[in-house]
Assembly symmetry: none
Homo-oligomer: 420 residues x 2
């Protein structure tokens, strides 16, 4: 069974917007052992959309489209569908009531453009959009399926991952699939691969015509999701095998692996802090709030996260943390010594179990005194102990900030759980 | 004349790598008035590449491919080309000498895999790759052209922009294009569209066979980029027309439009603060550092951004901003009164020109005392004045945080420039 993705939008073809929806969907399909044959981007015209659907149906069993479902005039996916399937738009009272309800609750009037969203292709099964106003269509024609999603990434991602993917996997997935995901942090992909050469050889050798095994590295910036997939008919055997591979991976690279499953590093840290009834505060210079943002992205983080001082200016470092002016003068703001005094000051100010501190140079400007862009000092401590480390990255500003914050979270993890 | 882009690589279809080459090429082609009809991503197989070329040649005059030109086993673009054009690979002495020279200078041996790069399709014109070892092919067949580029983004970008684009524009370019982008904040897409109905009608009516005009809404979460495009031969006339459309849009929705061009809201705020030599500090509860992160994402923000207190815990609000315990008790942390005291406290602590404050409930838990998830109080003030407003969003946690922060930036913008 094969899938294809149809990306609809002039803004993609003009390069004004980077399409990320297709990559998101492709990754999730891949992880569920459904292969994507094509990704095709076409213009916001009925003709282009129709031809796109037609072409992709020659290559795939399921076509997943994104875009062109909004309320404005350049959104023509719906009329293209109606024309392609030779059907018509019909009024759907349930959607209309839902829209009316949503608008009433938000205190805004339902205008004509929005109420038009209740007009839907007569051959479509309607999937309610939990996070936006454009309904989603699931249309079957013989063995083929077209699923239309909105182009707004947050809506597309939520609806695809939570609602549509499980159904697609059930309908189009093949064989039994077992999958283990290991969350890796603090090691580059190539170094990890070197540690896992033998395991990879074993995984390759275990595959035969009845069973297939695969190890995939799914890197994000600063973390890697390591995925072991097994597929075939004998699910017990496959599960045993991938568990065995997992154990071998843990024995080779266990200290970089913080969790099994889909748990992000911030969620994991929340879990361990809650378990030991600990609290944390942060003091950020170069990460400018991003470290706090990662921690507070987790619902319920107010149980263990007390607050932060973002000390962008040196006088804030002095006033809020008592970093001495002589330290700043002698060693500079980006230094082990300043970092150390910030950790002490942060623990004192917030009275938390742990404090995490960053001070560095995100760039692209700001390199001084032989301190290059991308250098960061990170400190983590409690009342008894403190660890200060430096890292050097070579990315752009936004990526450096992200890598600084991920490194800080990893240091907090190791410090809290006692990993070397 | 139309172009199409063929992206070659399994890593794109599995979602493991985000393709950015196509967006880069599309933007440059668009800006040179060459419209991109399709972007198609296919697998690393001869069959898929051949079918991709064939399909795109039915849609476009020039096909630009990226990927599959490397020396390893999974790079099959060259053999696919040979098979598609029914031609053969021939040895090219000039490329071989060039490769030998490059490897000699870098002190590495030229292995068989690399020397195979001197084998090239007999019908290809060779374009020297200034930044890598894979040669680039320019292949003409009748009126159609196939140009193959390497997939490594730095190589692809350099060679496309500097070497190939000028030639493509000369051979395929026609007419002139003008474009205006307006940056919109603080209004939903459908409300904006309602305000612009008349202008949209005019834009549509102005198009004829010699000139085309189009208005496109490019929404992100909390902002919209509004793009007016005109194309045709009479560039003066087109520029006049799109300027006229712009003026009409400004007269209908000017207060939501903060900039013309590609400027993000944080960059814009940085600009106005720098112009008036003002500084800003923040105090964040529910946005948990994200507001500070947006402000400090801009390089050079340390010139006007002094710092923030993230007061996740109530005791931090009291200790750091002097929010009175009676206010917290009587009105709660998420209230106009607490917000007001946080603004005063923030101004006092950081001694900045402006202070921006958020206190709300990002969710999904935390609704209390009749205060729903998604409610936020935002305050902005200086020593003379203060504005406190509430907003209600209905998204997930991460999106609510983003929308809270965007609303805060918009309030700062309006406060600083004096927009109602």
């Amino acid at each position: 069974m094969k899938a294809a993705i149809l990306v609809i939008g002039d803004e993609i073809l003009s390069g004004n917007v980077q399409d990320t929806n297709s990559s998101f969907a492709a990754r999730l399909l891949f992880e569920n052992n459904i292969s994507v044959a094509h990704i095709l981007a076409v213009a916001d015209t009925e003709q282009a959309i129709k031809e796109g659907i037609k072409y992709l149906f020659t290559k795939a069993d399921i076509v997943i489209s994104s875009g062109g479902l909004g309320p404005t005039r350049d959104d023509v996916t719906k009329t293209a569908i109606v024309s392609y399937f030779n059907t018509e738009l019909v009024f759907d009272q349930a959607i209309y009531d839902d829209l009316t309800d949503r608008y009433t609750r938000s205190g805004r009037p339902l205008n004509t453009l929005n109420s038009d969203q209740a007009m839907v292709p007569s051959n479509a099964e309607i999937v309610r959009n939990d996070v936006g106003t454009a309904p989603i269509f699931w249309i079957e024609q013989g063995e083929k399926v077209l699923v239309t999603l909105p182009g707004v990434p947050s809506e597309m991602r939520h609806m695809f991952e939570k609602i549509l993917l499980p159904r697609i996997v059930e309908q189009f997935g093949s064989g039994k699939i077992s999958r283990i995901i290991l969350q890796v942090i603090g090691i580059p992909e190539s170094d990890l691969a070197m540690k896992l050469v033998e395991v990879e050889n074993q995984i390759e050798a275990a595959s035969n015509e009845n069973e297939q095994y695969k190890l995939a590295y799914l890197p994000s910036m600063g973390t890697i999701r390591l995925q072991i997939i097994g597929s075939g008919d004998d699910s017990t055997k496959i599960e045993n095998n991938i568990n065995n591979f997992k154990e071998q991976i843990l024995s080779k690279a266990g200290k970089y692996i913080y969790a099994e499953g889909d748990e992000g590093i911030s969620t994991y840290i929340g879990k361990i802090l809650r378990e030991e009834q600990a609290t944390v505060s942060t003091a950020e210079s170069c990460t400018g709030g991003y470290l706090a943002h990662l921690i507070t992205s987790v619902s319920g983080s107010s149980d263990y996260y007390l607050g932060s001082i973002i000390s962008y200016a040196n006088e804030v470092k002095t006033k809020e943390f008592g970093v001495s002016e002589s330290t700043l003068e002698k060693f500079g703001a980006v230094s082990e010594e300043t970092c150390r005094e910030m950790v002490s000051g942060c623990l004192k100010k917030f009275n938390t179990t742990y404090a995490v501190v960053t001070t560095g140079i995100a760039g692209p400007t700001g390199d001084t005194d032989g301190k290059p862009v991308g250098l960061v000092w990170i400190g983590v401590g409690n009342k008894d102990n403190m660890i200060i480390s430096s890292f050097q990255f070579r990315r752009n500003r936004i990526e450096n900030i992200h890598l600084f914050a991920m490194s800080a979270l990893d240091m907090l993890r190791k410090f809290a759980v006692g990993v070397d």
